[in-house]
């Protein structure tokens, strides 16, 4: 769903107060934080998507990487998961579902996650998702908010999975483009593991998913009196994306995201089509706020761990209007 519709629906729900719950769906957080006592935190998330690539085994892996990402963004490690499946039994052979679930299981295993069960329903359209549970320490949590003035912003994966997946549905995507996004979407956002024994001050972290780069970046500054200045040329983008974009192969979600964010996002770069900033990502990269002196060193380590296209794309600045400005 788009941010507008979602906001409208959630507004009508009563959120009960529970001192054990540190984060719920208020405030843009990626997962729910539940205190188990003596500093131990349980973190939980759920994610479900429709196919973005044709290969069922790849799709399964992407679902797992996408769902598990929300645990990593909180600085926690995932341990347990449950499958949720909607499957059109009358339309598709069961072999396909086996391959999908195998993909999910293999990727979960790679992340050290055990899939302990699940639930299926018959559905018109294929859907696969996961509920993931992880654990962390209260003192070392990463939240979506917490960035400080002067921090730099790192993006770990290129943008454009939504556009290329739409182009694939139109049977107009090149094989190379599909291979590139598949590889990227399958990649675990396992930053907490990568920097486990290193001394970095991660001030804030989130991942770029369905609302697109600009809207997820807005979540990081909401209520902080900070804004973000992002250099358009630094943003990593899959090579084929600009061409597909100009041909109108945009997912509808991009326009919903753009509409919702209008007024809070300013584009000062001439000749640049801003719609890419709103492209909904599946299993997109992490957005990380880190103090300037640590930025280059962290980027180097991230790049070395298989995120070759990661970049420092901008920095946090004082801004009472809390805007994202693209220059």
């Amino acid at each position: 769903m788009g941010p507008q519709d979602l906001g409208e629906v959630l507004q009508k729900l009563h959120i009960p107060h529970n001192p054990k719950i540190l984060a719920n769906w208020e405030g843009w957080e990626d997962a729910t934080l539940y205190q188990l006592g003596s500093g131990l935190m349980m973190v939980q998330t759920v994610d479900i998507i429709t196919p973005v690539v044709d290969d069922p085994y790849d799709f399964g892996q992407i679902v797992a990487a996408n769902a598990i990402s929300d645990i990593y963004t909180m600085g926690c490690l995932p341990e347990l998961a449950l499958n949720i499946v909607g499957f059109p039994c009358s339309k598709l052979p069961l072999d396909i579902l086996s391959s999908i679930l195998k993909g999910g299981q293999d990727k979960a295993e790679e992340a050290g996650v055990e899939i302990a069960g699940g639930h299926t329903v018959e559905d018109e359209e294929l859907k696969y998702g996961m509920v993931v549970t992880g654990f962390g320490n209260k003192d070392s949590l990463w939240r979506i908010k917490g960035a400080e003035d002067g921090d730099v912003l790192i993006l770990t994966k290129p943008l454009g999975t939504g556009i290329i997946a739409t182009t694939l549905k139109a049977e107009m995507a090149s094989k190379e483009a599909v291979e590139k996004i598949t590889k990227s979407m399958k990649k675990l956002n396992n930053l907490p593991l990568i920097i486990r024994d290193r001394d970095f001050r991660i001030h804030a972290c989130t991942d770029v998913t369905g609302f697109g780069l600009a809207v997820h970046a807005l979540g990081m500054v909401d209520g902080s009196k900070l804004g973000i200045k992002i250099e358009v040329e630094k943003i990593p983008v899959f090579e084929e994306v600009l061409r597909y974009m100009s041909e109108g192969l945009m997912p509808a979600g991009a326009y919903r995201n753009e509409k919702w964010a209008s007024g809070k996002v300013e584009v000062k770069k001439d000749g640049f089509d801003p719609i890419i900033l709103f492209d909904p990502q599946t299993s997109g990269g992490l957005l990380i706020a880190v103090p300037l002196p640590e930025g280059e060193r962290l980027l180097e380590i991230i790049k070395r761990n298989g995120f070759e296209e990661a970049e420092i794309i901008g920095s946090f600045i004082k801004d009472a209007e809390e805007k994202i400005v693209f220059i």
Partner: protein, 188 residues
């Protein structure tokens, strides 16, 4: 005019129907969609194909009229576009004043035409056209329309005009000769 009714279809279906109709040789089309995202995508697609497009909102629907490769808009593929090689600041031999006038008028007319060259390659006294007040204005107009203007660097040095260059990209013999050998070239 063929009507493509793409209402109630999720993206990218409206585009696929449009693309199919264009591939079947339709020159004038009307696409009807009922969502703004579909409208935006159809507009992006048709502008990338260089088609002439207008749209209006009628009730809940958007009607998009597309004229493809018709009278209104000539679409020429980049590979088919011609390059113009200019090695003098005037056209033809005989009367120099007339030659200068003809060149000035040629460059002045070029940006207004329906068919544009891909590139303009300037050598010898041709480079003066990128330095003079009036002719450089015409070249600038062409640049704005996507025409690449390459100016011979050696020639600029020879005429001591490096500081007077007003338009174009300073180039070298390697790049210019490559351009002369690939694709069609018109020599003035």
């Amino acid at each position: 005019m063929k009507i493509v009714d793409a209402r109630k279809l999720p993206c990218p279906q409206p585009l696929l129907l449009l693309k199919k109709a264009l591939e079947e040789g339709e020159k004038e089309l009307e696409v009807i969609v009922d969502r703004e995202d579909a409208l935006q995508n159809v507009l992006r697609f048709s502008s990338s194909k260089g088609a002439f497009t207008t749209w209006s909102k009628e009730g809940e629907d958007y009607h998009i009229k597309i004229e493809s490769k018709g009278e209104v808009c000539e679409v020429v593929l980049e590979e088919e576009m011609v390059k113009i090689f200019i090695s003098s600041d005037r056209i033809g031999k005989g009367n120099d004043d007339l030659g200068l006038l003809l060149m000035k008028s040629f460059l002045n007319t070029l940006p207004e035409g329906r068919v544009l060259p891909a590139k303009i390659l300037l050598m010898n006294t041709g480079i003066l056209l990128a330095c003079n007040e009036d002719t450089s204005l015409s070249l600038k107009k062409l640049e704005e329309k996507g025409v690449e203007v390459l100016v011979c660097g050696t020639c600029l040095k020879f005429f001591d005009k490096e500081k007077e260059l007003k338009v174009g990209k300073v180039s070298n013999m390697f790049e210019i000769s490559e351009n002369l050998l690939v694709g069609s070239v018109l020599t003035l």
